[in-house]
Protein backbone atom coordinates (compact mmCIF):
# COMPACT_ATOMS: atom_id res chain seq x y z
CA UNK A 1 0.00 0.00 0.00
CA UNK A 2 2.80 2.36 0.86
CA UNK A 3 4.35 1.58 -2.48
CA UNK A 4 1.60 3.68 -3.99
CA UNK A 5 2.50 6.71 -1.88
CA UNK A 6 0.89 9.59 -3.71
CA UNK A 7 3.28 12.55 -3.65
CA UNK A 8 1.25 14.31 -6.29
CA UNK A 9 -1.58 15.06 -3.87
CA UNK A 10 0.83 16.58 -1.37
CA UNK A 11 2.51 18.77 -3.96
CA UNK A 12 -0.83 20.05 -5.23
CA UNK A 13 -2.02 20.77 -1.73
CA UNK A 14 1.10 22.65 -0.59
CA UNK A 15 -0.24 26.19 -1.11
CA UNK A 16 -3.45 25.37 0.71
CA UNK A 17 -1.66 23.53 3.52
CA UNK A 18 0.76 26.31 4.23
CA UNK A 19 -0.95 29.53 3.17
CA UNK A 20 -4.27 28.66 4.78
CA UNK A 21 -3.45 25.98 7.32
CA UNK A 22 0.00 26.71 8.66
CA UNK A 23 -0.46 30.45 8.67
CA UNK A 24 -3.54 30.05 10.87
CA UNK A 25 -1.75 27.57 13.13
CA UNK A 26 1.14 29.95 13.61
CA UNK A 27 -1.11 32.96 14.12
CA UNK A 28 -3.14 31.19 16.76
CA UNK A 29 -0.06 29.79 18.46
CA UNK A 30 1.49 33.23 18.61
CA UNK A 31 -1.64 35.01 19.85
CA UNK A 32 -2.43 32.36 22.45
CA UNK A 33 1.16 32.21 23.68
CA UNK A 34 1.41 35.95 24.15
CA UNK A 35 -2.11 36.32 25.54
CA UNK A 36 -1.75 33.20 27.65
CA UNK A 37 1.56 34.35 29.11
CA UNK A 38 0.13 37.69 30.11
CA UNK A 39 -3.08 36.32 31.57
CA UNK A 40 -1.27 33.31 33.02
CA UNK A 41 1.22 35.52 34.82
CA UNK A 42 -1.65 37.51 36.23
CA UNK A 43 -3.30 34.28 37.40
CA UNK A 44 -0.06 33.11 38.95
CA UNK A 45 0.28 36.34 40.87
CA UNK A 46 -3.33 36.01 41.99
CA UNK A 47 -2.76 32.42 43.10
CA UNK A 48 0.26 33.42 45.14
CA UNK A 49 -1.28 36.53 46.62
CA UNK A 50 -2.16 36.78 50.29
CA UNK A 51 -5.72 37.66 49.36
CA UNK A 52 -7.57 34.39 49.87
CA UNK A 53 -10.46 35.28 47.60
CA UNK A 54 -8.18 36.06 44.69
CA UNK A 55 -6.13 32.94 45.16
CA UNK A 56 -9.18 30.70 45.47
CA UNK A 57 -10.75 32.18 42.34
CA UNK A 58 -7.56 31.78 40.34
CA UNK A 59 -6.97 28.29 41.73
CA UNK A 60 -10.48 27.16 40.95
CA UNK A 61 -10.34 28.54 37.44
CA UNK A 62 -7.03 26.87 36.70
CA UNK A 63 -8.05 23.51 38.12
CA UNK A 64 -11.40 23.48 36.39
CA UNK A 65 -10.04 24.22 32.95
CA UNK A 66 -7.13 21.86 33.33
CA UNK A 67 -9.46 18.99 34.17
CA UNK A 68 -11.34 19.16 30.89
CA UNK A 69 -10.30 18.00 27.45
CA UNK A 70 -9.59 21.04 25.31
CA UNK A 71 -12.27 19.94 22.84
CA UNK A 72 -14.94 20.40 25.48
CA UNK A 73 -13.48 23.72 26.57
CA UNK A 74 -13.56 24.98 22.99
CA UNK A 75 -17.14 23.87 22.66
CA UNK A 76 -18.28 25.56 25.85
CA UNK A 77 -16.44 28.79 25.23
CA UNK A 78 -17.79 29.02 21.71
CA UNK A 79 -21.32 29.03 23.07
CA UNK A 80 -20.78 30.83 26.34
CA UNK A 81 -18.61 33.72 25.22
CA UNK A 82 -21.42 35.31 23.15
CA UNK A 83 -23.61 35.33 26.26
CA UNK A 84 -20.74 36.61 28.37
CA UNK A 85 -20.14 39.38 25.87
CA UNK A 86 -23.85 40.16 25.81
CA UNK A 87 -23.80 40.51 29.57
CA UNK A 88 -20.66 42.61 29.51
CA UNK A 89 -21.78 44.94 26.75
CA UNK A 90 -25.42 44.98 27.82
CA UNK A 91 -26.53 44.21 24.29
CA UNK A 92 -30.01 42.80 23.67
CA UNK A 93 -28.97 39.54 21.97
CA UNK A 94 -25.90 37.35 22.33
CA UNK A 95 -22.93 39.04 20.71
CA UNK A 96 -21.92 37.16 17.62
CA UNK A 97 -18.31 36.15 17.84
CA UNK A 98 -16.35 35.11 14.85
CA UNK A 99 -14.97 31.55 15.21
CA UNK A 100 -11.45 32.89 14.72
CA UNK A 101 -11.75 35.25 17.67
CA UNK A 102 -13.51 32.59 19.65
CA UNK A 103 -10.55 30.29 19.09
CA UNK A 104 -8.08 33.00 20.06
CA UNK A 105 -10.01 33.79 23.23
CA UNK A 106 -10.47 30.14 24.14
CA UNK A 107 -6.87 29.17 23.57
CA UNK A 108 -5.65 32.22 25.45
CA UNK A 109 -7.86 31.49 28.43
CA UNK A 110 -7.01 27.80 28.34
CA UNK A 111 -3.26 28.14 27.86
CA UNK A 112 -3.21 30.76 30.59
CA UNK A 113 -3.90 27.94 33.06
CA UNK A 114 -0.80 26.09 32.01
CA UNK A 115 1.35 29.19 31.86
CA UNK A 116 0.00 30.13 35.28
CA UNK A 117 1.30 26.92 36.77
CA UNK A 118 4.63 27.33 35.03
CA UNK A 119 5.10 30.90 36.19
CA UNK A 120 3.94 30.01 39.65
CA UNK A 121 6.48 27.24 40.04
CA UNK A 122 9.08 29.58 38.58
CA UNK A 123 8.31 32.17 41.20
CA UNK A 124 8.20 29.61 43.98
CA UNK A 125 11.50 28.07 43.01
CA UNK A 126 13.28 31.37 43.54
CA UNK A 127 14.93 31.64 46.93
CA UNK A 128 12.72 33.61 49.32
CA UNK A 129 15.72 35.76 50.02
CA UNK A 130 15.27 37.48 46.65
CA UNK A 131 11.89 38.90 47.67
CA UNK A 132 13.24 39.79 51.08
CA UNK A 133 16.23 41.53 49.54
CA UNK A 134 14.00 43.57 47.24
CA UNK A 135 11.72 44.53 50.13
CA UNK A 136 14.69 45.36 52.30
CA UNK A 137 15.78 47.86 49.65
CA UNK A 138 12.43 49.58 49.99
CA UNK A 139 10.78 48.20 46.88
CA UNK A 140 7.04 47.72 47.00
CA UNK A 141 5.65 44.26 46.30
CA UNK A 142 4.79 45.33 42.79
CA UNK A 143 8.27 46.66 42.11
CA UNK A 144 9.83 43.51 43.52
CA UNK A 145 7.58 41.43 41.28
CA UNK A 146 8.35 43.34 38.09
CA UNK A 147 12.03 44.07 38.51
CA UNK A 148 13.31 41.14 40.54
CA UNK A 149 11.00 38.13 40.61
CA UNK A 150 9.37 37.87 37.20
CA UNK A 151 12.50 38.52 35.12
CA UNK A 152 14.17 35.61 36.87
CA UNK A 153 11.17 33.30 37.00
CA UNK A 154 10.43 33.71 33.31
CA UNK A 155 13.99 33.08 32.29
CA UNK A 156 14.28 30.02 34.49
CA UNK A 157 11.05 28.65 33.11
CA UNK A 158 11.91 29.16 29.46
CA UNK A 159 12.23 25.43 28.70
CA UNK A 160 8.83 24.69 30.23
CA UNK A 161 7.26 27.61 28.42
CA UNK A 162 8.67 26.25 25.20
CA UNK A 163 7.38 22.76 25.85
CA UNK A 164 3.95 24.18 26.52
CA UNK A 165 4.10 26.26 23.36
CA UNK A 166 4.95 23.17 21.34
CA UNK A 167 1.95 21.40 22.85
CA UNK A 168 -0.17 24.44 22.02
CA UNK A 169 1.19 24.46 18.49
CA UNK A 170 -0.01 20.88 18.13
CA UNK A 171 -3.29 21.42 19.94
CA UNK A 172 -4.39 24.15 17.55
CA UNK A 173 -5.71 21.34 15.37
CA UNK A 174 -8.69 21.08 17.69
CA UNK A 175 -10.14 24.22 16.11
CA UNK A 176 -11.80 21.80 13.69
CA UNK A 177 -14.65 21.94 16.19
CA UNK A 178 -15.21 25.53 15.09
CA UNK A 179 -14.87 24.63 11.40
CA UNK A 180 -11.64 26.55 11.23
CA UNK A 181 -8.86 25.07 9.21
CA UNK A 182 -5.43 24.85 10.73
CA UNK A 183 -2.51 22.95 9.26
CA UNK A 184 -3.64 19.53 10.41
CA UNK A 185 -7.23 20.38 9.51
CA UNK A 186 -6.13 21.38 6.04
CA UNK A 187 -4.19 18.15 5.69
CA UNK A 188 -7.19 16.17 6.93
CA UNK A 189 -9.51 17.96 4.53
CA UNK A 190 -7.36 17.27 1.51
CA UNK A 191 -6.94 13.74 2.81
CA UNK A 192 -10.68 13.20 2.99
CA UNK A 193 -11.54 14.95 -0.23
CA UNK A 194 -8.95 13.03 -2.20
CA UNK A 195 -9.00 9.82 -0.18
CA UNK A 196 -5.28 10.13 0.63
CA UNK A 197 -5.19 9.87 4.42
CA UNK A 198 -1.92 8.02 4.74
CA UNK A 199 0.01 10.45 2.63
CA UNK A 200 -1.34 13.54 4.32
CA UNK A 201 -0.92 12.29 7.87
CA UNK A 202 2.62 11.11 7.29
CA UNK A 203 3.40 14.43 5.70
CA UNK A 204 1.81 16.31 8.61
CA UNK A 205 3.85 14.26 11.08
CA UNK A 206 7.05 15.16 9.28
CA UNK A 207 6.19 18.86 9.12
CA UNK A 208 5.20 19.07 12.78
CA UNK A 209 8.28 17.17 13.81
CA UNK A 210 10.63 19.41 11.88
CA UNK A 211 9.04 22.66 13.04
CA UNK A 212 8.89 21.60 16.68
CA UNK A 213 12.45 20.35 16.56
CA UNK A 214 13.72 23.58 15.03
CA UNK A 215 11.80 25.56 17.62
CA UNK A 216 13.21 23.59 20.52
CA UNK A 217 16.76 23.86 19.19
CA UNK A 218 16.34 27.60 18.68
CA UNK A 219 15.06 28.08 22.18
CA UNK A 220 17.84 25.92 23.58
CA UNK A 221 20.28 28.30 21.97
CA UNK A 222 18.35 31.36 23.10
CA UNK A 223 18.22 29.95 26.59
CA UNK A 224 21.99 29.72 26.72
CA UNK A 225 22.15 33.36 25.77
CA UNK A 226 19.65 34.65 28.32
CA UNK A 227 20.50 32.11 31.00
CA UNK A 228 21.24 33.68 34.34
CA UNK A 229 24.80 33.07 35.40
CA UNK A 230 24.66 31.61 38.86
Amino acid sequence: MLSGFDFQTIVHALPYLFLTGMSFTLTLTLCATIGGMIFGTLLAVMRLSDNRILSVIAGGYVNLLRSLPLVLVIFWFYFLVPFLAQWLTGSSSPVRIDPFWSSVITFTLFEACYFCEIVRSGIQSLPRGQTLAASALGMTDRQALFYVILPQALRNMLPLILTQTIILFQDTSLVYVLSITDFLGAAAKIAQRDGRLLEMYVFAAVVYFIISLIASQAVRRLQKRVAIIR
Binding site: M1, L198, S212
Partner: protein, 248 residues
Amino acid sequence: MNYHWNWWIFFEPSLDGTNTYLTTLFWGLGWTAATAVVGFTIALVLGSVVGVARTAPIGWVQTSGMVFVEVFRNIPLLVQMFLWYFVLPEVLPRDAGMWLKQFPNAQFYTAAVCLGFYHAARMAEVVRAGLLSLSRGQKMAGQALGLTLPQTYRYVLLPVAYRIVVPAITSEFLSCTKNTSVGIAIGLVELTGTARAMQENTFQVFEAFAAATVLYLALNMVIVFAMRSVEKAAVIPGLGNRIAGRGR
Protein backbone atom coordinates in the same frame (compact mmCIF):
# COMPACT_ATOMS: atom_id res chain seq x y z
CA MET B 1 -32.42 30.81 22.49
CA ASN B 2 -35.13 28.34 21.68
CA TYR B 3 -33.34 25.20 22.73
CA HIS B 4 -35.43 22.28 23.78
CA TRP B 5 -33.93 20.98 27.01
CA ASN B 6 -34.59 17.33 27.67
CA TRP B 7 -32.70 15.85 30.57
CA TRP B 8 -34.72 12.64 30.30
CA ILE B 9 -32.84 11.90 27.14
CA PHE B 10 -30.27 9.99 29.22
CA PHE B 11 -32.84 7.33 29.98
CA GLU B 12 -33.85 6.76 26.40
CA PRO B 13 -32.45 3.80 24.51
CA SER B 14 -29.33 4.57 22.56
CA LEU B 15 -28.39 3.57 19.05
CA ASP B 16 -27.31 0.07 20.04
CA GLY B 17 -30.92 -0.66 20.85
CA THR B 18 -30.31 -2.13 24.31
CA ASN B 19 -28.53 0.39 26.53
CA THR B 20 -29.77 3.79 27.54
CA TYR B 21 -27.67 6.82 26.67
CA LEU B 22 -26.66 7.06 30.31
CA THR B 23 -25.33 3.52 30.22
CA THR B 24 -23.37 4.21 27.05
CA LEU B 25 -21.87 7.30 28.66
CA PHE B 26 -20.71 5.22 31.59
CA TRP B 27 -19.27 2.65 29.22
CA GLY B 28 -17.46 5.52 27.56
CA LEU B 29 -16.18 6.63 30.94
CA GLY B 30 -15.02 3.08 31.59
CA TRP B 31 -13.04 2.96 28.35
CA THR B 32 -11.60 6.38 29.07
CA ALA B 33 -10.45 5.24 32.50
CA ALA B 34 -9.10 1.93 31.21
CA THR B 35 -7.21 3.59 28.38
CA ALA B 36 -5.82 6.21 30.72
CA VAL B 37 -4.67 3.67 33.29
CA VAL B 38 -3.05 1.30 30.82
CA GLY B 39 -1.57 4.17 28.82
CA PHE B 40 -0.21 5.88 31.87
CA THR B 41 1.30 2.69 33.24
CA ILE B 42 3.20 2.30 30.00
CA ALA B 43 4.20 5.97 30.18
CA LEU B 44 5.45 5.61 33.73
CA VAL B 45 7.59 2.57 33.05
CA LEU B 46 8.87 3.60 29.66
CA GLY B 47 9.26 7.22 30.72
CA SER B 48 11.37 6.17 33.69
CA VAL B 49 13.62 4.08 31.50
CA VAL B 50 14.05 6.91 29.01
CA GLY B 51 14.44 9.51 31.76
CA VAL B 52 17.17 7.46 33.39
CA ALA B 53 18.78 6.93 30.00
CA ARG B 54 18.90 10.68 29.49
CA THR B 55 20.93 11.13 32.67
CA ALA B 56 23.13 8.09 32.17
CA PRO B 57 26.84 8.78 31.72
CA ILE B 58 26.95 6.83 28.46
CA GLY B 59 26.84 8.80 25.23
CA TRP B 60 24.77 6.58 22.97
CA VAL B 61 22.24 5.81 25.69
CA GLN B 62 21.73 9.52 26.27
CA THR B 63 21.37 10.12 22.57
CA SER B 64 18.77 7.41 22.10
CA GLY B 65 16.84 8.78 25.04
CA MET B 66 16.91 12.21 23.49
CA VAL B 67 15.78 10.94 20.09
CA PHE B 68 12.88 9.09 21.69
CA VAL B 69 11.76 12.22 23.51
CA GLU B 70 12.07 14.50 20.50
CA VAL B 71 10.19 12.12 18.18
CA PHE B 72 7.28 11.35 20.47
CA ARG B 73 6.95 14.84 21.81
CA ASN B 74 7.08 16.73 18.55
CA ILE B 75 4.35 14.99 16.59
CA PRO B 76 0.73 15.76 17.48
CA LEU B 77 -0.96 12.98 19.39
CA LEU B 78 -3.76 12.77 16.86
CA VAL B 79 -1.28 12.13 14.08
CA GLN B 80 0.60 9.59 16.15
CA MET B 81 -2.64 7.79 16.94
CA PHE B 82 -3.39 7.63 13.25
CA LEU B 83 0.05 6.38 12.35
CA TRP B 84 -0.03 3.61 14.95
CA TYR B 85 -3.45 2.40 13.86
CA PHE B 86 -3.50 2.83 10.13
CA VAL B 87 0.11 3.04 9.02
CA LEU B 88 2.05 0.70 11.29
CA PRO B 89 0.30 -2.49 10.11
CA GLU B 90 0.98 -1.49 6.52
CA VAL B 91 4.72 -1.08 6.94
CA LEU B 92 5.13 -4.29 8.91
CA PRO B 93 5.60 -7.61 7.12
CA ARG B 94 2.23 -8.79 5.82
CA ASP B 95 1.63 -11.47 8.43
CA ALA B 96 2.51 -9.26 11.37
CA GLY B 97 0.33 -6.53 9.93
CA MET B 98 -2.61 -8.88 9.52
CA TRP B 99 -2.13 -10.15 13.05
CA LEU B 100 -2.29 -6.60 14.35
CA LYS B 101 -5.42 -5.84 12.37
CA GLN B 102 -7.23 -8.96 13.56
CA PHE B 103 -6.48 -8.11 17.16
CA PRO B 104 -9.71 -7.87 19.14
CA ASN B 105 -10.25 -4.41 20.61
CA ALA B 106 -7.44 -3.10 18.51
CA GLN B 107 -8.54 0.52 19.01
CA PHE B 108 -8.20 0.21 22.75
CA TYR B 109 -4.74 -1.34 22.66
CA THR B 110 -3.55 1.03 19.98
CA ALA B 111 -4.83 4.06 21.85
CA ALA B 112 -3.28 2.87 25.12
CA VAL B 113 0.09 2.13 23.55
CA CYS B 114 0.09 5.37 21.59
CA LEU B 115 -0.81 7.41 24.67
CA GLY B 116 1.80 5.47 26.58
CA PHE B 117 4.57 6.41 24.16
CA TYR B 118 3.45 10.03 23.85
CA HIS B 119 3.30 10.53 27.60
CA ALA B 120 6.45 8.49 28.12
CA ALA B 121 8.30 11.21 26.25
CA ARG B 122 6.90 13.76 28.65
CA MET B 123 7.33 11.55 31.72
CA ALA B 124 10.94 11.05 30.72
CA GLU B 125 11.45 14.78 31.02
CA VAL B 126 9.73 14.79 34.39
CA VAL B 127 11.84 11.92 35.72
CA ARG B 128 14.96 13.51 34.33
CA ALA B 129 14.12 16.81 36.02
CA GLY B 130 13.63 14.92 39.28
CA LEU B 131 16.97 13.19 38.93
CA LEU B 132 18.74 16.42 38.03
CA SER B 133 17.26 18.18 41.03
CA LEU B 134 19.10 15.79 43.31
CA SER B 135 22.53 16.98 44.22
CA ARG B 136 25.39 15.30 42.37
CA GLY B 137 26.59 14.25 45.79
CA GLN B 138 23.80 11.69 46.19
CA LYS B 139 24.98 9.75 43.18
CA MET B 140 28.56 9.97 44.39
CA ALA B 141 27.59 8.89 47.88
CA GLY B 142 25.91 5.79 46.51
CA GLN B 143 28.85 4.94 44.33
CA ALA B 144 31.35 5.72 47.06
CA LEU B 145 29.71 3.00 49.15
CA GLY B 146 30.37 0.51 46.37
CA LEU B 147 26.87 0.44 44.88
CA THR B 148 26.94 -0.08 41.14
CA LEU B 149 25.40 2.59 38.93
CA PRO B 150 22.15 0.63 38.43
CA GLN B 151 21.97 -0.01 42.17
CA THR B 152 22.54 3.67 42.84
CA TYR B 153 19.63 4.56 40.58
CA ARG B 154 17.43 1.85 42.02
CA TYR B 155 18.03 2.40 45.73
CA VAL B 156 19.20 5.98 46.03
CA LEU B 157 18.28 8.29 43.17
CA LEU B 158 14.93 7.11 41.81
CA PRO B 159 13.13 6.72 45.16
CA VAL B 160 13.84 10.34 45.98
CA ALA B 161 13.39 11.67 42.44
CA TYR B 162 9.94 10.11 42.18
CA ARG B 163 8.89 11.69 45.43
CA ILE B 164 10.00 15.10 44.27
CA VAL B 165 8.04 14.89 41.04
CA VAL B 166 4.80 13.40 42.36
CA PRO B 167 2.91 16.65 41.59
CA ALA B 168 4.23 16.62 38.04
CA ILE B 169 3.28 12.95 37.71
CA THR B 170 -0.22 13.82 38.85
CA SER B 171 -0.65 16.43 36.18
CA GLU B 172 0.76 14.07 33.55
CA PHE B 173 -1.80 11.49 34.64
CA LEU B 174 -4.58 14.05 34.34
CA SER B 175 -3.46 15.13 30.93
CA CYS B 176 -3.17 11.50 29.85
CA THR B 177 -6.76 10.97 30.93
CA LYS B 178 -7.91 13.96 28.93
CA ASN B 179 -5.90 12.88 25.92
CA THR B 180 -7.79 9.60 25.68
CA SER B 181 -10.39 11.70 23.88
CA VAL B 182 -8.09 11.76 20.87
CA GLY B 183 -8.89 8.05 20.60
CA ILE B 184 -12.01 9.05 18.65
CA ALA B 185 -9.75 9.33 15.64
CA ILE B 186 -9.32 5.58 15.52
CA GLY B 187 -12.83 4.73 16.66
CA LEU B 188 -12.26 4.27 20.38
CA VAL B 189 -15.67 4.64 22.02
CA GLU B 190 -14.46 6.65 24.98
CA LEU B 191 -16.33 9.35 26.84
CA THR B 192 -16.07 12.25 24.39
CA GLY B 193 -16.88 9.84 21.58
CA THR B 194 -20.02 8.52 23.25
CA ALA B 195 -21.17 12.03 24.06
CA ARG B 196 -20.58 13.02 20.48
CA ALA B 197 -22.47 10.01 19.14
CA MET B 198 -25.35 10.72 21.49
CA GLN B 199 -25.44 14.30 20.34
CA GLU B 200 -25.28 13.41 16.65
CA ASN B 201 -28.32 11.25 16.90
CA THR B 202 -30.51 13.13 19.34
CA PHE B 203 -29.32 16.69 18.80
CA GLN B 204 -29.42 17.18 22.61
CA VAL B 205 -25.94 18.58 22.35
CA PHE B 206 -25.78 20.56 25.58
CA GLU B 207 -27.05 17.68 27.69
CA ALA B 208 -24.57 15.28 26.13
CA PHE B 209 -21.57 17.55 26.61
CA ALA B 210 -22.65 18.61 30.06
CA ALA B 211 -22.71 14.95 31.05
CA ALA B 212 -19.27 14.42 29.56
CA THR B 213 -17.95 17.48 31.36
CA VAL B 214 -19.29 16.32 34.70
CA LEU B 215 -17.94 12.82 34.22
CA TYR B 216 -14.49 14.13 33.29
CA LEU B 217 -14.45 16.34 36.36
CA ALA B 218 -15.47 13.39 38.52
CA LEU B 219 -12.79 11.17 37.04
CA ASN B 220 -10.20 13.87 37.55
CA MET B 221 -11.26 14.32 41.12
CA VAL B 222 -10.78 10.61 41.76
CA ILE B 223 -7.31 10.79 40.27
CA VAL B 224 -6.38 13.90 42.21
CA PHE B 225 -7.49 12.33 45.48
CA ALA B 226 -5.76 9.06 44.72
CA MET B 227 -2.55 10.87 43.84
CA ARG B 228 -2.83 13.01 46.92
CA SER B 229 -2.77 9.93 49.09
CA VAL B 230 0.19 8.65 47.11
CA GLU B 231 1.86 11.96 47.78
CA LYS B 232 1.10 11.70 51.46
CA ALA B 233 2.41 8.18 51.66
CA ALA B 234 5.57 9.30 49.93
CA VAL B 235 6.39 12.12 52.30
CA ILE B 236 9.84 11.77 53.81
CA PRO B 237 9.82 12.77 57.47
CA GLY B 238 11.90 15.83 58.17
CA LEU B 239 12.38 16.64 54.54
CA GLY B 240 10.77 19.91 53.58
CA ASN B 241 11.66 21.39 50.26
CA ARG B 242 15.35 21.07 50.90
CA ILE B 243 16.29 17.85 49.23
CA ALA B 244 19.35 15.87 50.14
CA GLY B 245 20.98 18.42 52.36
CA ARG B 246 21.44 20.88 49.49
CA GLY B 247 19.64 24.07 48.78
CA ARG B 248 19.72 27.24 50.70
